[in-house]
Amino acid sequence: MNYVAPETLEAAYRALQADEAVCLAGGQSLVAMMNLGLAAPKQLVSLRRLAALRGLSEQLDGGLRIGAMTTHAELAGLDPKAAGPALIARTARLVAYPAIRSRGTIGGSVALADPSADYPVALQAADASIEIGGPDGSRRVDARDFFRGLFETALNPGEIVIAVHLPPGPAGAGAAYEKLSLVAGDFAIVSVAAIGRETVDLAVGGCGPTPILLAGVAAETDALLAAGRALAASCNPPGDHRASAAYRRRVLPELIRRAGLAARHGVAP
């Protein structure tokens, strides 16, 4: 196994062309998989020296540009007013544990697209866009198009997530992230991100290979439950040792109701 830590994006793109080369961001997922014998790449391209991937800056409209190597801890420490950043901060606080949050990165989480992860759900609800860089230049893909399947994204081989662009969300909107897990810090059984006020955009995690978007739902109990029931009937959640598919369908409407009302009324979940 080879290891390189390039200092420029161009060097990183070249390094990623090697056989079985993968990016090493915070390592909180990749190294765990290596330790368990589930991953054995031939080349590790560490992103830690790439200044282009760093930086967390508030935009003029209240949104955020989040460099890919921004840690969950940095995001968890924010207390922003705008709904989009507030949603990502609340979500970051629920990812795993402090020692994981101090190393894990948003870029790493987004690129991995674990169906039980937290960020993909929040970013879909917040209508974020992912800035992607590659040898042929950079491009932006909406989060709502970025997550394609189980551990599958819009990244082409050799591309890197550069930054996440988070819009401020509707003026005066609230945000909420409801996460149901067996113990604190665990992967979600089902999670729901909501952003909005009278109507909310919701994203659901844990009910399929990718987060599921429910846009423009009226933030009232009946409408939220109805949207939840419709989704429960149509989606195909997994059954695993944490919970059955039937349970995920069963709790989905209630979690959607909670997330939607919490976003509307500004109650932190």
Binding site: N35, P98, G185
Partner: protein, 171 residues
Amino acid sequence: MRTERVHSLLQVNGEARDLLAPVPTTLLEALRDSFELTGSKRGCNHGVCGACTVLIDGRPARACLMLAVDVGDRPVVTIEGIADANGLSAVQRALVASGAIQCGFCTPGFVMSLTDLFSRDPRPSREAIRTALSGNLCRCSGYVKIVEAAERLAGLPAGPSEPSGPEATHG
């Protein structure tokens, strides 16, 4: 997987340490096997239990999830680097005095997490203490006396859980 070894220069507990090891070597393996710093423990090797917690660049990290080759020149502090000139640090003494230590295998990880907490806030709230320790598993203690130790160190009043001592009874 070939076992070609690469060289890294690490800063551990204020000392420069040379490492020659294969790329997949974690910081935990480097500490325990190459540097003979066995105080950081391997409880699971997949980042859940917290027994391998060290400080990297002043923040807590799982040594088992960090590749030694990726640490670079960021300073690493392990449990062996915590005791001060007077012996045990205040965090360590608090854990000893409160009866929080049972089997002790989780203790180095808790010391590191508490050291980080108290370095940022000398008077953390109960909630901040519990959040800071949320990634350290303990199977022996039920966590109560660990939190009591931290609360005493933070100058918080005795919590409602403080027991009043054994009572004689007959039946």
